[in-house]
Symmetry: C2
Subunit: 233 residues, 2 copies
DNA sequence: TATTTTAATTGTATCTATTACACTTAAAAA
DNA sequence: TTTTTAAGTGTAATAGATACAATTAAAATA
């Protein structure tokens, strides 16, 4: 096809900001990789890759994530596109960032290790290559906004979780203490959780009830015109 | 340079969703163009263009806007990147959308006309090419979110405006009636406006006081930990 | 078996923000 | 002088957000 001939083309990449929540350490983490190739070999970076001719950006990001973790059908959200001419010293690369929310325990550890991937807490990240630190900051901001108004937090937790664990997650995301009674009041009042007949007994003698997030309840909730809201003191 | 050799490259474009507010008709409008070239010649579309080798996405978007309107230093916000393989039937083009907020009266009318640009109300948009309708929807959503929590509305108004005009703008953005007293109470309580010693006397005998948004006041306001909020009934 | 220990669970009162609502006023026109 | 028209103004009721501490369940220990 002759259309659009003579127009410059660009290398286009995707970079994935992969969030996971460590339920024991109560820390929000990022899956980072030590680059095994030039430029910046040996430096920490986000998981990324070039976009092929026959795939969309979303497909490319899903592929990168799959190759690193073995996971498919992960919650991903496009975040921002970085197009500064000099952002990659190797060549001009335009990169679209996506953030992914995954359940840490689900990843293929062997595969991740083979690719040089490591979990690092967001509160003490290493220096990252290029503009990846900016990418992380923007993605974290976005996640913080989203977690207030959409039930995305559950993507980071196991299928079943206790209210204490859910609150710990939110405290890790926002890096601040939340009032226990207010938090429970608010999340339970939305009626999106199902209380199970089972207790988590590792962290306390008494044990804490397990809950499960029910997507169908959320559907009904939104269809009735309600809005998810976990913006709590 | 041999780095990254053998990797497929892509056409990359930007598309601009150019918002303007018609203060007389009380309508939010988009500056759309009738395409003068194939594919889809004669159809309505957003203003767009390919990204050159020596410019960032933001620079490309600013250039497209400048060429159409003669305006520089316009409020623009990157919105989303559309990378579906088949989104443009002419060739595979990856396009990043930006929305721009401009003061309708500021544009170079002659230049705009020469480029086939026309203002169209958002409440009755024509059919647009490709995925441009989706782009507009997403941008409008984004604008609606932003206008609640950031003082972006003023970008769409003349330097001086009346509170009635400001409210009309918000009603046009959200397509619903807002309570006059509550709106005024809220905007004035933030202390971001300066009341001028002059009245707008065209639309009423009594006249309405002109105000001006003071960016410096907004700086102080945010530095004190306050957040802009015009989410009003 | 009774006591201790520890984390989970629960409710209310106060404060703040949002909402609903209608009359008065300024100024030109008649 | 009266009429007309849009601008401008305040308060009470409601809902939502916040601050705050004692009780309970269950294992571990004495």
């Amino acid at each position: 096809m002759k259309i659009y001939s003579g127009i410059p083309k660009h290398l286009v990449a995707v970079d994935c900001i992969i969030f996971g929540y460590d339920i024991m350490e109560k820390e929000l983490k990022l899956l980072l990789i030590k680059r095994g190739f030039e430029p910046a070999k040996g430096k920490w970076s986000l998981a990324g890759g070039f976009v092929y001719e026959n795939e969309s950006l979303e497909e490319a990001a899903a592929r990168v994530l799959y190759n690193l973790t073995g996971l498919r059908n992960v919650y991903m959200e496009q975040n921002y596109t970085y197009g500064e001419v000099d952002r990659d010293p190797g060549a001009r690369v335009i990169s679209t960032s996506f953030y992914a929310l995954i359940k840490i325990q689900d990843i293929d550890r062997e595969l991740a290790e083979k690719n040089g991937a490591h979990w690092r807490s967001i509160s003490r990240l290493p220096e990252l290559i290029f503009d990846h630190t900016r990418m992380v900051e923007r993605a974290l901001n976005e996640l913080r906004q989203q977690a207030k108004v959409k039930p995305v937090g559950f993507e980071l937790l196991p299928e079943t979780f206790t209210l204490v664990q859910l609150q710990d997650l939110y405290e890790a995301i926002y890096q601040r203490k939340i009032d226990k009674r207010n938090f429970r009041k608010k999340i339970l009042s939305m009626n999106l959780l199902e209380k199970l007949d089972e207790k988590e007994k590792i962290t306390s003698k008494r044990g804490a009830w397990y809950y499960r997030f029910i997507p169908e309840k959320y559907e009904v909730f939104t269809q009735k015109g309600f809005y998810f809201n976990l913006d709590v003191s």
